[in-house]
């Protein structure tokens, strides 16, 4: 299963395209646009892959609570948007969470659920806040955010689910290598951002 997880991770990031608050595919807005946003926006896809690998690497009793916490964070963030809450650096926070998750995956040590839980909740909220579309219609905005929440949760589930309990040594190392790549990329991106 790890092979397919790694392949999915590579494909998700590989197929990612640049995007911002604008539709990732011209003309695709609303729920479908939101659904595609997490996997077509490079920073979001990278973070989701790292977070998914981290969830998949945890002990079995911790995985489901983490996935539920992520879903809860995504939904809570929609409520925050409804109440007009906004932050300017949500994308940076999400990338930092993804980088930290990648580092934790590379280290591959048992982690307290308080740490992984906090990371996943912060990442979920940041991802949703960074995905608010630049459209005026309230209905379209909510549909897009709902799509983003579903797409992000699904992506996390797929990555985490397909990397569960690798049986061979090279599979476990493959997951760690992917985490290492994600962490290294994020370190460079954040440095570049703050060095400007």
């Amino acid at each position: 299963m790890t092979l397919w997880g790694a392949a999915l991770a590579a494909l998700v990031v590989g197929f990612s395209d640049s995007a911002s608050a604008h539709p990732v595919i011209q003309g695709v807005t609303g729920f479908p646009g939101g659904l595609l946003h997490p996997v077509l926006e490079p920073a979001h896809a990278l973070s989701l892959v790292a977070l998914g690998l981290m969830v998949g690497q945890q002990r079995a009793p911790h995985r489901m609570p983490l996935m539920v916490a992520f879903a809860g964070a995504l939904l809570a963030a929609i409520l925050l948007v409804v109440f007009a809450f906004a932050v300017t650096e949500a994308g940076t926070v999400l990338l930092a969470c993804g980088g930290l998750a990648g580092l934790l995956v590379a280290i591959a040590r048992p982690l307290p659920i308080a740490l992984t839980g906090a990371l996943i909740v912060i990442a979920g909220v940041a991802l949703e806040l960074d995905s608010v579309p630049a459209i005026i219609s309230v209905q379209d905005t909510l549909l897009a955010l709902a799509g983003t929440a579903f797409g992000a949760w699904l992506a996390l589930m797929v990555v985490a689910g397909s990397t569960l309990d690798p049986k061979r040594e090279w599979q476990r190392v493959g997951v760690r290598v992917l985490g290492s790549w994600a962490a290294a990329s994020v370190i460079l991106v954040l440095t570049l951002k703050f060095a400007k």
Binding site: G14, F15, D17, W170, V173, G174, W181, S185, L192
Partner: protein, 194 residues
């Protein structure tokens, strides 16, 4: 692992983000990031040598180096982006090919810590060069991911070839490859010092 490599290459070949944000073809993005280590022969031979040496040393080095190297390289990249000067970066990169090639050619087997320090030190030089040469306006996420992935794939090439050490003739082939890398490193070293 072969299937994973093929899928990764497929993903790389399929991506369209390379030209998303920059005006000039290979100026930025994923393809540019991929191309940066691949079009620098000094980088290529040194990265392959890391994989070869890892395979030569066996477990856990064969697995530890590909995990640790990108992180240390990123640290070097940070220094490069921030403009922190490191003396003789190009000489260090050429020297990495010489030293790592010789390690393989002479079948040197230091402790894991020593091997990690040697490889890590050279990773800083390589990372610094990548960071300092980051093209302006590049899509940072795609670019950085591209060159980290390319570096990892070069390690994988070295590891794959290095697995030949299981057979006596393969062991000779790997040591010959190490010698060739060391010679290439000397040529690069001569070029940088000329």
């Amino acid at each position: 692992m072969l299937r994973l490599l093929l899928l990764l290459l497929f993903a790389i070949a399929s991506t369209s983000s390379a030209l998303a944000h920059t005006g000039g073809g290979m100026g930025g993005g994923f393809l540019s990031g991929i191309a940066h280590p691949l079009f620098g022969p000094d980088h290529v031979v040194a990265m392959v040598a890391v994989g070869l040496w890892g395979a030569f040393l066996g477990a856990p080095a064969i697995w530890l180096l590909p995990v640790v190297f990108p992180l240390v390289m990123a640290f070097g990249g940070v220094l490069g982006i921030l403009g922190v000067p490191i003396p003789a970066v190009e000489i260090g990169i050429a020297a990495s090919a010489v030293v790592l090639g010789l390690m393989v050619a002479l079948a040197v087997r230091p402790s894991l810590i020593v091997a990690a320090i040697i490889v890590g030190a050279f990773a800083i030089f390589h990372g610094h060069a990548h960071g300092a040469e980051l093209p302006a306006g590049a899509d940072a996420v795609a670019y950085s991911l591209g060159f980290v992935v390319a570096t990892g794939l070069l390690h994988l090439c070295g590891i794959t070839f290095g697995l030949l050490v299981r057979w006596p003739s393969g062991r000779v082939a790997v040591r010959v490859a190490g010698s060739a890398i060391a010679v290439a490193g000397l040529v690069f070293l001569g070029g940088t010092m000329a």
